[in-house]
Symmetry: C2
Subunit: 206 residues, 2 copies
């Protein structure tokens, strides 16, 4: 399969959400135009995005909503369960542990770590905050599928190295640093200032 | 100016961060290769991204670090101050009000709103949580440049409508809904489950 741009993957995630809305509303088939309208994009874009993954839909009939939803879930790897560890029990970590949108997509936070003795042992949404010093021992038998890194910038690379050594192959990074990881490890950076800069750019260039 | 893809704008934001690192390290000029290495991209990509905005650098000499940084700040609209309102004083709102990366980029959270009487009036990072019912009155003289919407999904569109009516022209939306806004309003959606899905996609398709 060709390498697909992240922007395409993000649109597939959105299409899946729209299809689930249509499904909940009892809609059986949907046109690329309807999907495009829902996502404020063009039907040509919808057809192009889906064409990367084979041929869907019938000319004049549109897409079967449940079939296309199942295919997108498969493409996005959402037909399985992911065990997630949150490292860093600060404000961001706290928001993520309680994030309601995760379990419904198969993402289950099963570990929370911090290095602050005042936090270690406290209960968070039914989870006990663990000592980050014990990370390697905890992951000896089974490592999380995904780690969410929500620690300060200066400690992030060291924690990332330990996570990778423990077998983690996907990291959602909230620390404002560019992590160096082996090629087989997927990293997705989330930076709130960067999100605001797409808005300052829009305000500046209107 | 041509319409620039959001992915390009995001890379410009990253280049600016790298240039600021180089500047702090006392580096005066930088090649597109060095910028590319720092950002795990190609020098062709760097040159293409910058070419949208005119001609920079001298062949064989590279880019002047302070000049290119200033140009990128100008392109990204970062040469000014932005007043930001956070609507929704939950976990996400709390993390954002205290986010250290904002003030250094010119984003200043000046208002926090909630509708919960238990939260209204409490002090958050030096700000008093205000009653969202008073939003229109508060913004009568001066509206925020950017609003961060961190309310539950079912109330998000109604709050967005009120923000737009009050003069807000840029919204960072954390609610898991597609907002309908007039064309002149910039919206950037942040969805944590979607971020994780770029990782589940990577794990699935390796």
């Amino acid at each position: 399969m060709r390498k697909i741009a992240e922007s395409t993957v993000r649109r597939l995630s959105l299409y899946l959400r729209f299809l689930e809305e249509f499904e909940a509303a009892g809609v059986a088939t949907v046109s690329s135009e309807a999907l495009a309208r829902r996502g404020s994009t063009t039907s040509a874009q919808v057809r192009k995005d889906l064409s990367f993954f084979g041929s869907f839909g019938k000319r004049g009939l549109g897409y079967s909503v449940p079939e296309l939803a199942a295919t997108l879930r498969d493409i996005l790897g959402l037909e399985r369960r992911y065990a997630v560890a949150v490292v860093g029990a600060g404000k961001v970590g706290s928001a993520l542990v309680q994030y309601r949108g995760f379990p419904s997509r198969g993402f289950h936070v099963e570990w929370v770590y911090d290095r602050d003795p005042a936090k270690i042992g406290s209960a968070w949404n039914g989870l006990r905050v663990r000592d980050v010093a014990g990370l390697e021992a905890d992951f000896e038998e089974v490592a999380p599928d995904i780690a969410i890194l929500a620690v300060p910038a200066d400690g992030a690379q060291a924690v990332a190295d330990r996570l990778v050594a423990a077998g983690v192959r996907a990291i959602l990074n909230f620390a404002p640093v560019q992590l160096a990881v082996p090629e087989e490890v997927a990293v997705k950076n989330v930076n709130m200032a960067l999100e605001l800069e797409t808005l300052s750019y829009a305000l500046r260039n209107r």
